[in-house]
Point group: C2
Chain length 343, copies 2
Amino acid sequence: MAYENKDMKPKVAITIGDPRGIGPEVVVKALAQASLRQVCAPLVLGDFHVLSRTVEALSLGLKVIEAAEGARDFPPEVLPLLPLSHFPPGKDFRDIPPRDSSRASFAYVEKAAQMALTGKVDAIVTAPVSKEAISGAGIPFRGHTEYLADVSRTEEFVMMLAGERLKVALVTTHLPLRDVPHLMQEGRIRSVIEIVDKGLRDYFDRSAPRIAVAALNPHAGENGLFGEEELIISRAIQGACKKGILASGPWPADTLFYRAKQGEFDAVVSMYHDQALIPLKLLHFEDAVNITLGLPFIRTSVDHGVAYDIAGKGLANSRSMEEAIQLAAQMAHKKLKSQSSTL
Amino acid sequence: MAYENKDMKPKVAITIGDPRGIGPEVVVKALAQASLRQVCAPLVLGDFHVLSRTVEALSLGLKVIEAAEGARDFPPEVLPLLPLSHFPPGKDFRDIPPRDSSRASFAYVEKAAQMALTGKVDAIVTAPVSKEAISGAGIPFRGHTEYLADVSRTEEFVMMLAGERLKVALVTTHLPLRDVPHLMQEGRIRSVIEIVDKGLRDYFDRSAPRIAVAALNPHAGENGLFGEEELIISRAIQGACKKGILASGPWPADTLFYRAKQGEFDAVVSMYHDQALIPLKLLHFEDAVNITLGLPFIRTSVDHGVAYDIAGKGLANSRSMEEAIQLAAQMAHKKLKSQSSTL
């Protein structure tokens, strides 16, 4: 990526997630990479002492400094932080009371959303929080993505997971498998196709994205033998095609992801969690990025959880965070470029 | 593979499948490979003129000869055939009436089963037939595998798909997805684990196979939040473990196949068709082999259908057939060796 001028370097807010999880570690490890600093101007939303201790423990040679909201363009050895919690120095962050840790993790996300909504940053990247711990701390919270949708008044959004060789989008997410067939609704499926189409046009270099839609049943339902779900999916595809979208399917899921990997499609719309996640994780176990499409701002996220069990041990793999920041920067750059070209 | 003497070279019966499909083509292409002829003594069950025409059209330099049931050890340029149908010479096999073609395809399988059951061959390999076409020709037929189970009085059998990097076994197969959750039965799941364990011991070099069992719901059901299916699967695993089997799970399906590919497990027991077939086809699109475990004889099969649309064009990829023959030979060799060592 080349920047015409410094102002084209996208501003990216990065939350550190739950201080008791691996979020702070993957954030500082990622931002220690000079290559990432070349493509974006990061601002970390978190806690001074949590970050300082993490940087020290990992001997990363970074200097955490408290920065103002609008500050930018720090040298790569500086980690600019907007402090939103104030845990005491010298304390092992695993000793922070879960309630305080969870409330802080929520405050970072709250601020990130606010900054994105008011245009103070060009994209946000989130490290993992614990949904259960935040709810347990008395804050009504259905999940990271749901919160961002609520606060931005977004009705229809789509979880997309992306790697170099495969991009998958989900019609349904965290649900019992037995509920999935009942949720095959033409309107929802068509919305997902449309949001994916727009996402690929806006943020990726796709002027006419080829979107494959997976069938729900094996062998694409064997011509209706297995139920009417494939008929519903077909109608959704036809609806999208009428709007000029290059959608196709419903394709038998067993061969579809191989075809997508071979380059036949730009993204696959999947009907349920494991249908999408099995092939995605098989190809991109370490480096998949979670993108929320449909929000009024750019948001990427790591593809893993808080991993309390390995937190503070220096063992966390930061690949997904690196890719999430890189991708957010790319998406923001693409958007900034298209905005400046239409001025 | 090295053979101590010629008699250790396993006898493998290979059906040509539906003469109107790509079966004859993939069989002759596979058997034209000298390497395959070194590991087994094949006997093709099919039709003289169908095979001769196919060999000619592909300029394979093979000579089809009619052989007796017990005949063996032909030179690699000879294709020994047990003729079970007699279509006229010079006729384009695509002009064979579907009824005749289907009946013939059934006769090949019938004979193969008979030979396997009476010990005249050490393994059978089947090329694709059309279930619909055979039923349409007035023969009650629920499918290749089901027929072999019926004729050998096998109550419990398992479809396994195998490639070099991944082996998957299925608890349920061709069903609407909505029916799958209701079929999570402890007895069936435990049987599948046991049959897979025995299959890996008998036919592969695994003295203590590590068998991973997939969960049905995303995130392995999030500790029971998504229903009781994971509890049922857990009980089945515990039952198998009590018999000394190294079974584990239920594992979240999204990361499980990656772990298996990395070598953590020898096989994955999957709950439904696409859960198993999506990762399998992603890793082994061309070279996966279908193995039926639980039958009283060795049976492998290609991983594709009749493909009428490309039949007779010389376009069919014979990789799956080559692997199916190779694997059947390996499995038979392993069994013959263990039998001779216990004599």
